[in-house]
Amino acid sequence: MKQVRRYFALVSVVVLLLAAAFAFLSLQGTYAGPPAILDPNFNLWVTGSNGPQLMVWNTELVKGMSDQISINKTILEGRHALELKVFQSGVQSRWAYASLSQDIDGGRLTQLLNESIGFWILKEPCSCDADLFNKTSVILSIETNDGIHTISFVFSDGLQGVRTLPDHRIVFLPTPSGSWFFEKLNVAKEYRTMRWTPPTSLTFSIVLGVAGDAIGWHSAYLSGIAFSRDGLHFPISPQIELQPLLTIGNALTTWVSRR
């Protein structure tokens, strides 16, 4: 017993350290944090003063006195979906918007810049967004804004390619109307193309905008946001710049494999 007492503490700690080191090396790359976009399936609804509302998404409604906007959860063609509906009255002929947004920074921003984001979308069956700037447009878009630069990803029936304005890039994503369609976009790729400085924070928004003369009800549906690491990542995101100094685990793994 005396011998056991003499060595037990040391041996137990050494065994723990060895087991921890083995686990550490074996489990490299297994970290998973929260996704860049929280509540990506639009599941968390609470009852607000105006009925159900999404809890972690910020809601912004811009409309005239006679316009109406509603944001609801629904089931469409068997899919749980977020429904954005805008009624354009045509009074004063001004745009009406429904927007859901999240502010993203830190680890979630790094993740956003390392992934492509996919959306299941169902637009109303019309080609009314053929011209982005006419007075009957209905635009469903994803927008990122870092305080200086804005990128608008517009889900369009008729347009494709990009338009570039000072500090604003518009990317048209060909998206057929009237049925569910999966569309992917990559924020980092656009920053790289524009040679803009990587953002330290940004606002990520889903926007349904209806021009002043597009009178009547307009709607769009989103069913979940998916994330994929498909190699289109930004080459020097803020976190990646630090990594050569900081990924102790990778360095250890390399050292061990060299041995």
């Binding site: 056991v4 007492r5 037990f8 503490a9 137990s12 700690v13 065994v15 723990l16 087991a19 921890a20 686990a23 550490f24 489990l27 490299q28 790359g29 297994t30 970290y31 998973a32 944090g33 929260p34 996704p35 976009i37 929280l38 509540d39 990506p40 399936n41 599941n43 968390l44 609804w45 609470v46 009852t47 607000g48 809890m55 972690v56 680890g107 790094t110 976190q239 630090l242 990594q243 900081l246 990924t247 102790i248 685990g249 990778n250």
Partner: protein, 423 residues
């Protein structure tokens, strides 16, 4: 040490404690004056005035003649308890406007409401609680999937305790937590020998988090601390009573579960006789503990066994994100890229090492068992300060038991009894 120098030393410690208490209460009074918006909440002005007055009194008291100091020796409790009540009121009801700052308390309060309506909280969607108690998105428990925890993840006593208060119409369950807190303070105070009061309870107030900020922010751990303190005090001599209190603590929340192997070792090592005798004492402890735990949980577990088990093991089984003030913070901020499994292995490894060492070096580590769960949880992938800090009252119990076991002269341990007899 002669009785004269001991009396001088104890008087000095008492005076020092008065200064600490006065300074702490002054600090809280100032904080409450700052955050309490007395211009629109006049009651805050009255509360802070009172707090300042008792603080100044006890500070002045610290340098008064020995007879006066001795006469007011229990007065230290007044500024401390008043600080708790005033600060929790100001933070919870004014700064947070009555909203809960954890999903845990919102879900527990809502679950208690559901019970009064005859519903089983383990099978219900608890998200209505978030709007009902104005929980902020930043106070939710995020999952790796991007969703949030919306189910009840604790044993049933965690909401059953609130049922009588829901029926009585209490709208903010933080006051139940405050009552538990005050009970813990009083219990420690009363159990402490007169000569180390109020010194013994001062570590609880080394910083405002444990006794004020966490409770005001709706952290509910004080619920299991009180029965565990009672379990600790009765562990040596009343195994059955201690077991019942331990069962109550385990029926509130999961952290006390981690104590089980250490308590078993404690009981085995402190029982003289054959193995059968030792095991019988363990059974006298674990039996009542398990019985009480089952008593309060069985109705819910029986109604929906899968739902109950799934919810209660949520902290282990669900995809909670890494959130840590322990080693896992290195993954959380991206310095290393190992995930939850690594930290779970680490925590289990630390648990095993502690069990082994506690058994082998019991003579040296005997009183340390209460901090072991805090150490283990610090290595896990969710290691919040509240998982560690709430073991402090238990450490004080251990310190007290150690102090008594050191065999100090009876006169200094129980002077009150002696003086009563002499009368």
């Amino acid at each position: 040490m002669s009785s004269f120098s001991r009396a001088r030393y104890e008087s000095f410690i008492l005076r020092l404690s008065f200064l600490f208490v006065g300074q702490f209460a002054l600090y809280e009074g100032f904080q409450d004056w700052n955050r309490g918006r007395a211009d629109i909440h006049p009651e805050v002005a009255v509360l802070t005035l009172t707090l300042y007055a008792v603080s100044l009194f006890i500070i002045a008291l610290s340098l008064m003649p020995a007879k006066t100091v001795s006469k007011f020796k229990d007065f230290a409790l007044v500024p401390l308890v008043l600080s708790i009540i005033t600060s929790v009121y100001v933070v919870a009801e004014i700064a947070y406007r009555g909203s809960y700052r954890t999903d845990v308390l919102a879900f527990s309060h809502y679950a208690a409401i559901l019970v009064t309506k005859g519903l089983n909280p383990y099978t219900q969607d608890l998200t209505p609680a978030l709007a009902m108690f104005a929980v902020q998105p930043s106070d939710l428990t995020p999952l790796i999937s991007g969703g949030y925890l919306a189910t009840f993840q604790y044993p049933s006593l965690h909401f059953l305790i609130f049922v009588p208060f829901v029926i009585a119409g209490l709208s903010d369950m933080r006051w139940v937590l405050v009552a538990f807190e005050v009970a813990v303070i009083l219990l420690l105070y009363l159990k402490a020998p007169v000569n180390i009061r109020p010194m013994l309870i001062l570590p609880l107030f080394a910083g405002a988090d444990l006794m004020i900020n966490f409770t005001a922010s709706s952290v509910s751990d004080m619920l299991w601390v009180l029965p565990l303190v009672l379990a600790a005090f009765t562990l040596d001599k009343k195994s059955i009573t201690s077991g019942i209190f331990y069962g109550i603590a385990c029926a509130f929340k999961q952290p006390p579960w981690l104590l089980a192997p250490f308590v078993i070792i404690y009981l085995i090592q402190t029982t003289e006789g054959q193995l059968g005798v030792k095991l019988r004492r363990v059974a006298w402890f674990l039996g009542p503990a398990a019985a009480f735990f089952l008593l309060v949980n069985l109705p819910f577990a029986y109604a929906d066994p899968v739902g109950w088990v799934r919810n209660v093991i949520t902290p282990i089984s669900s995809d909670l994100v890494i959130l840590s003030q322990g080693p896992a913070v290195l993954s959380q901020v991206g310095l290393i890229s190992v995930g939850r499994v690594f930290y779970s292995i680490l925590a289990v490894g630390v648990l095993l090492v502690l069990i082994g060492n506690y058994y082998v070096y019991f003579d040296k580590l005997r009183y340390m068992l209460w901090i072991f769960p805090g150490i283990i949880l610090w290595f896990s992938f969710r290691a919040l300060t509240s998982y560690v800090i709430y073991w402090m009252p238990l450490m004080l119990v251990s310190l007290l038991l150690w102090y008594k076991a050191q065999g100090l002269p009876r006169a200094s341990v129980k002077p009150s009894l002696k003086s009563r007899r002499s009368r």
